[in-house]
């Protein structure tokens, strides 16, 4: 029961891990992704991606700029141009 989350920038693969939930700042509003989310694609605005490792844990925030998110069968992939951890 985990969501596979990948965060990729042109320079490197920043994250590739299994987490509980990720909240992504989409252009048209924030959305949370849990395991089994329907296929979905959205551009994201500059802001913080919140990564919840386990249910109820304090989120880890990662600042991203310029990118988009894709939810597919194999989890969530966030492609961002810049990342500030």
């Amino acid at each position: 029961m985990a969501l596979h989350f990948e965060l990729v920038t042109p320079a490197k693969l920043v994250r590739s891990e299994d987490v509980y939930m990720v909240v992504v700042p989409g252009t048209e509003g924030e959305f949370g992704v849990l395991e089994g989310h329907a296929p979905f694609m959205s551009t994201i605005r500059d802001g913080a991606v919140q990564v919840f490792r386990t249910a109820g844990a304090a989120p880890e925030t990662i600042q991203v700029r310029g990118g988009f998110a894709e939810v597919g069968e194999n989890g969530l992939t966030v492609l961002a141009e810049h990342v500030e951890a």
């Binding site: 320079a11 693969l13 959205s42 310029g66």
Partner: protein, 289 residues
């Protein structure tokens, strides 16, 4: 025959040249490892991006497709984006790139197209502006940063897209070296703008929801795709430069070694000859007494 002193001087000068080439070779070897790692690290982003592009491009077609994908309807004016290195001492790399660019330009001109250049890096400017005077106006200088990164790629791509939007050219090609190994870096030409429609994955997979709609996402994705291509070219260039430099400097070091051996033999022979002559003189003098 050169005098002993002259020979000694030459041997010393070749020795210092060898020291320099050896140092440059080791520096290139160290940098090559880094450049290769960087090129490797950039690959996941590129593959994911083109996968997404492929799935999107299949859905958006016809009139609604953005200009960057569909082109502006004509293919008269071609822009060749040539990626050269900034520094020399890397063997035939730059002249190979220039040769490829020249062949492409000639082929396009033979088809009656207008060709102009956009030069990245310093080393291609002189030969290309000699062959195609007045066509090498625009360019981007990567010489003032140590390792060109995504910021530079971003600037180049933004300028290219702006030029395209302003209608300065119809089709852009990217000519850049592709790093195969330290021995082989072949220049490769690929179309950059309009973005070549990727081979669509045949399986129309599950219904994907888009936010905002497909066109908006695609419109934002295309410039990013161009950026990634340019970034990839810069990384390949970096790896190719170091690889070519390493090989060239290895050859130079070896040649210098050969030359030193040859000169040393010559030096020893003439020293021996001088000693023999001296001895003969002494013996002849002693006999005369």
């Amino acid at each position: 025959m050169a005098s002993l002193k002259e020979l000694k001087g030459r041997i010393n000068s070749v020795k210092s040249t060898q020291k320099i080439t050896k140092a440059k070779q080791m520096v290139a070897a160290a940098k090559l490892r880094k450049a290769q790692a960087a090129a490797e690290a950039a690959r996941p982003y590129a593959t994911r991006l083109s996968a997404v592009m492929a799935s999107l491009a299949g859905k958006v077609s016809g009139d609604s497709a953005p200009k960057l994908l569909a082109g502006n309807g004509s293919d008269k004016r071609h822009l060749l984006v040539v990626v050269n290195t900034d520094k020399g001492l890397c063997g035939g790399l730059n002249s190979n790139i220039v040769k490829e660019a020249r062949n492409q330009a000639r082929a396009l001109e033979a088809q009656g197209k207008d060709v102009s250049f956009y030069l990245v890096g310093k080393k291609g400017r002189a030969p290309l502006s000699r062959d195609f005077p007045g066509k090498t106006g625009e360019g981007f200088d990567t010489g003032n940063v140590r390792t060109p990164g995504f910021t530079e790629a971003e600037a180049i791509a933004a300028e290219l897209v702006a030029l395209f939007d302003a209608g300065m050219f119809d089709v852009a090609h990217l000519i850049a070296p592709v790093f195969k190994s330290a021995l082989a870096q072949d220049p490769v030409t690929q179309q950059l703008i309009p973005v070549p429609a990727p081979a669509t994955s045949a399986a129309a997979d599950a219904v994907v929801e888009y936010e905002p709609d497909e066109e908006a996402i695609l419109a934002e994705l295309l410039p990013r795709y161009v950026k990634t291509q340019v970034f990839g070219a810069l990384l390949e260039r970096e790896a190719s430069e170091q690889g070519a430099s390493m090989t060239a400097m290895d050859n130079a070091t070896r040649n210098a070694g050969d030359l030193i051996n040859k000169l040393t033999i010559q030096y020893n022979r003439s020293r021996q000859a001088a000693i023999t002559t001296e001895l003969i003189e002494i013996i002849a003098g002693a006999e005369a007494l």
